[in-house]
Symmetry: D2
Subunit: 109 residues, 4 copies
């Protein structure tokens, strides 16, 4: 993942875009890309979206990942560690015994 | 990253949540987590958000990454390859000569 | 609708919140409220969401409307006229003959 | 507002789109339109967005309003009443004395 982060940072560096990329604007862009991903499913079932728009799906998910890596880099978050820490919290919030097969939030469990 | 994907899939497996996780609902959840990240910046500058809510920032970014990994896994996208492919497209859409220091979209360059 | 706009502006005025409400931040907040509305449907069918969370649905839709009215007010858009103008455009983009019963975007029709 | 609701419902009726418009998909579309509005502010100040994209702003806000009216209509919410009820709740959650000039959420006041 370090290698990927280097790639996206170098891409930005080459275009001198860091000036626009304050974390608040990165968070906005991450939302916009997540929406473009969701748009592929608009008025459709998962199956239809995947069969109609597979390449777009790959591109939009890549865009989400691109901004996730940039955000993590810029604010100094180790994304791998952040995920493992969050999983640990979720183990507490969603203990298997209570959460098994349930679609409830932990505050409702 | 394969290791991380295994971890998030195992977390889900243990809770029998796959039944809720059709790709359309994963795309919805990815959007909700991206919004929770953005909410940390609501009515604030980047600086204030980062100093007030650093741990939340890490958690929300982890949640975005969690659903990105699950989505990629479930629809059979190699996230690393997807990102590199997208960067290649972006090299074409945003050639350095035209895009340097510009905040325009490629359709406007 | 003018009366409603007056109410939301007066609510804000009384709290001296205009200082935070630049249009970009209003657009962010509108997105956050739209997400909270969507969250009521997370992992659920429409039917279950409506039966489980009807009051929340009303509140979240109200929040979306609240920011829509404020945004329109602050940037000087007549929301009623904007809607009628947009419907007219959509009449052109989605002519009944082509769009009838179709879930395609106008660029794909 | 009743008149506007009639107009958007008639627009949909003429195209036989009700079949796609379950409330969950309406909530998705409302989010997508809110994102398109936010996109006008991407990498920009409020001032630049408004001067560059005023007509788009009007169109996107109209789209948000369009789905807000449809959602309210379909699930049987009186939007005007919903807003007034929510303002009343917010009067309680954000009493002037505590909330004056503060950008904090009511849980933090």
């Amino acid at each position: 993942m370090n290698e990927l982060t280097k790639r996206v940072v170098a891409f930005r560096e080459a275009r001198n875009w860091k000036q626009f990329h304050n974390p608040k604007d990165l968070a906005i862009s991450l939302n916009l890309e997540a929406s473009e991903l969701l748009e592929l499913f608009q008025w459709k079932s998962s199956e239809d979206a995947i069969s109609d728009k597979y390449n777009d799906l790959s591109d939009e998910l890549a865009d989400v990942f691109y901004y996730t890596l940039l955000m993590a880099h810029d604010v100094g978050i180790d994304l791998e560690k952040a995920l493992l820490d969050k999983l640990e919290k979720n183990e507490m919030n969603y203990p298997v015994q209570k959460a098994f097969g349930s679609n409830k939030k932990y505050t409702e469990l």
